[in-house]
């Protein structure tokens, strides 16, 4: 104990910590400096994207935007405010003050951005809304949440009609806290009921992470052990649901089971590529295409063109589809 105490003597540690802090600061000033900064000469596209640093698919998409930007003479910056709306707006206001050329925003609550978008446009900055539409904008880039959700719902509904004579017990894993989640969820339900009006939706719960998907589905399978269709607005949640399916003792290759999600994440695509299991569909985001579209749309608007909205539709990837390989390759996971 005395050895430990002498080693962990407060003064000695503080001396070492001081030296480390100085060394760390020096290291940070060299190695942590971003490749581009607001002082660069290149024209600037600033992207505000909640959770951009934690969703693999988004990282891939924004890396493509950076790559395309560099090719076309733009610096593309990405800020991740997490889910902190106030932080997101503060950062955007800083960008307005810095007079960046283009601001691209993924708005979880679109209406909250009307006034800041108006300020940006009054300052001569191009405003692009990602995946949503607001009044004060130059264009929308991204995808149409409701139609994409509807496509998944229709595919599942058609499968239920063809395979199970239109009868199934359905669990929907949505995300009511975000407008995008509400739109996707509504699309899924409408599409499903359109193709299979006799299905019974036994539960609708929020889940967007694998842990949420696992926990919620495990509970729901207690109440509805015969639920055989699980649809989600996010693949990570349905990946968790797939694990819950297995943990509940259900056959992972059950011919009467159907799990489908959205976004085309690596684990979901791997299950689809493998085939022979209940994970039967995912609406995959054409990640690179969306990333490129951010930059090309910004460039067109800066050059005075009226682009209108640039919608990149999600693509339905089903079991054993060669598309799974293509999207896995995009994410460096082939």
């Amino acid at each position: 104990m005395s050895i430990l105490n002498s080693f962990l003597n407060r003064r000695a540690i503080l001396r070492r910590a001081g030296a480390l802090a100085i060394a760390g600061a020096a290291l940070a000033s060299t190695s942590l400096t971003p490749a581009t900064s607001l002082a660069d000469e290149a024209r600037k596209i600033a992207v505000s994207f909640p959770n951009a640093s934690v969703i693999g698919a988004v990282i891939t998409s924004l890396d493509a935007a950076k790559e395309k930007g560099a090719e076309m003479g733009y610096s593309v910056f990405v800020d991740d405010p997490g889910t902190d709306l106030n932080k997101q707006i503060n950062t955007i206001k800083t960008w307005i003050q810095q007079k960046v050329d283009v601001i691209v925003v993924n708005a979880l609550q679109p209406d909250a951005f009307e006034s800041v978008a108006k300020q940006a446009r009054e300052a001569g900055i191009v405003w692009i809304t990602y995946g949503q539409k607001i009044e004060n904008q130059d264009a929308t880039v991204g995808y149409a949440q409701y139609p994409d959700g509807r496509q998944l719902g229709e595919y599942a509904g058609q499968w239920v009609t063809d395979t199970l004579d239109g009868k199934a017990k359905v669990i929907i894993l949505g995300y009511e806290k975000g407008v995008w989640g509400q739109q996707r969820g509504a699309g899924i339900k409408d599409g499903l009921l359109d193709k299979a009006p006799n299905v019974e939706i036994v539960a609708e719960q929020d889940a967007i992470s694998p842990t949420d998907g696992l926990n919620v589905t495990r509970s729901l399978l207690q109440a509805h052990p015969d639920a055989n269709v699980i649809l989600g607005v996010e693949d990570p949640a349905t990946e968790g649901a797939y694990k819950a399916w297995i943990a509940a003792g259900k056959d992972p290759a059950d011919p009467t089971g159907f799990i489908g999600g959205m976004d085309g994440t690596v684990p979901a695509l791997k299950l689809l590529k493998k085939g022979g299991n209940v994970y039967r569909a995912s609406m995959a985001i054409p990640l690179v295409e969306v990333g490129y579209a951010i930059v090309t749309t910004a460039d067109s608007i800066l050059n005075g063109e009226e682009t209108g909205d640039v919608i990149v539709p999600l693509e339905l990837v089903t079991e054993m589809s060669p598309k799974a390989d293509e999207y896995l390759a995009q994410q460096g996971a082939d």
């Binding site: 104990m1 430990l4 105490n5 962990l8 407060r10 540690i13 503080l14 910590a17 959770n51 640093s53 934690v54 969703i55 693999g56 990282i59 949505g174 009511e176 806290k177 036994v202 539960a203 609708e204 719960q205 929020d206 992470s209 694998p210 842990t211 696992l214 926990n215 919620v216 495990r218 509970s219 729901l220 207690q222 109440a223 509805h224 990570p236 990946e239 968790g240 694990k243 297995i246 943990a247 994440t265 690596v266 684990p267 791997k270 994410q331 460096g332 996971a333």
Partner: protein, 343 residues
């Protein structure tokens, strides 16, 4: 030396054992909650469902049981959420990319978490930095480091490892054995060892404990390491349940869940007061609440309101118990003295 005062035989109590109820007010609330859900969902009050609801909360239970000890000692660790993500990711990488065996994967997870706890402990116990500030900083640092190490999910950790998170031993899920063992160890440590009494003493008055030659700094360091190791174990358990790890979402906001369980369990935020049984009750309470609302298919927005109200209700009952308990005790003593003076 003064002779101890004579104690009279306690008066025969009538009616409900009020003090017993007050000391276990959260347990009473839990019973009411269970009765409510049992009446509203036929799937709720079954053995398989209880296994599910407890395994859903097993990982956070492991963290809460150990973090309770740290908080009783007057410190806190807000980095556990990111530590769970970091440790889970290290476990997944060890197994999927470095070819480690399941046992090695388990060790990597626990040791990763313990290492983070060691850093927290050195900064908080020996350098006397604010535990809240340090661990909140570590919360961000760890999430960033995890994403820098591997920004995408790692999946496919093997059947043996998957069994840890999803299999059973002697009819009980392995996760329940683990969380039960951790709660038991924490309880035994706090209740029956001299170190447990030191923890309470440090929490009541750290300066006085230091002057009384108690091993304040080594014990706080040990508690930080133990909390880190518990977060590592929780990360490993979650990775085994999911057969993979996601750097962005694994353990996200679990620090708030853990703190909620500990505080709801009656541990004073300033330290010096708390029982592991209370924390265990709070853990089951939250697991039951979450599961019951899901089984009843309560809409998400209503669930948020219901969860918040249930927590506030439980906390208010707890506060009521804390306020009424001493008053009732005081009244009992006064009546005792009156009886003695009349005798």
């Amino acid at each position: 030396m003064a002779t101890p005062p004579k104690t009279s035989t306690p008066a025969k109590k009538r009616g409900l054992p009020v003090e017993l109820v007050l000391n276990n007010i959260l347990l009473l609330a839990l019973i009411v909650l269970i009765a409510y859900f049992a009446a509203n969902s036929s799937a709720f009050l079954t053995v398989p469902n209880f296994k599910v609801l407890l395994t859903n909360y097993a990982a956070i239970g492991v963290v809460a049981a150990v973090m309770a000890l740290l908080m009783i000692a007057g410190h806190a660790d807000f980095s556990v959420g990111s530590n769970i993500g970091f440790s889970g990711m290290m476990t997944a990488l060890a197994m999927a990319e470095w070819g480690a065996s399941p046992i090695s994967g388990v060790l990597v997870g626990i040791l990763s978490g313990a290492f983070v706890g060691l850093i927290n402990g050195i900064l908080c116990a020996y350098l006397r930095f604010s535990a809240i500030i340090v661990t909140l900083g570590m919360l961000s640092v760890l999430r960033g480091v995890t994403l820098l190490i591997k920004p995408v999910e790692v999946v496919g950790l093997g059947d043996v490892f998957f069994y840890i998170g999803n299999g059973s031993f002697m009819g009980l899920p392995i996760l329940l054995w683990v969380v039960g063992a951790v709660f038991l160890l924490a309880s035994v440590f706090l209740s029956t060892t001299v170190w447990g009494r030191y923890v309470l003493a440090i929490g009541i008055n750290q300066q006085a404990a230091f002057l009384a030659a108690l091993p304040v700094r080594p014990l706080l360091l040990g508690l930080h390491v133990a909390t880190g190791a518990a977060a590592g174990l929780a990360g490993m358990l979650l990775a085994s349940r999911l057969d993979g790890a996601s750097p962005g979402s694994l353990g996200l906001q679990m620090e708030l869940q853990a703190v909620t369980i500990v505080l709801l369990g009656g541990v004073a935020f300033a330290g010096g007061r708390g029982r592991i049984f209370g924390v265990l009750t709070a853990w089951v309470f939250l697991a039951v609440l979450d599961n019951g609302l899901t089984l009843m298919n309560v809409p998400p927005f209503v669930q948020l309101v219901a969860s918040g109200m249930a927590l506030v209700f439980a906390a208010s009952l707890d506060a009521l118990g804390n306020n009424l308990g001493p008053k009732l005790e005081q009244r009992r003593r006064v009546q005792e003295q009156l009886r003695q003076s009349q005798a």
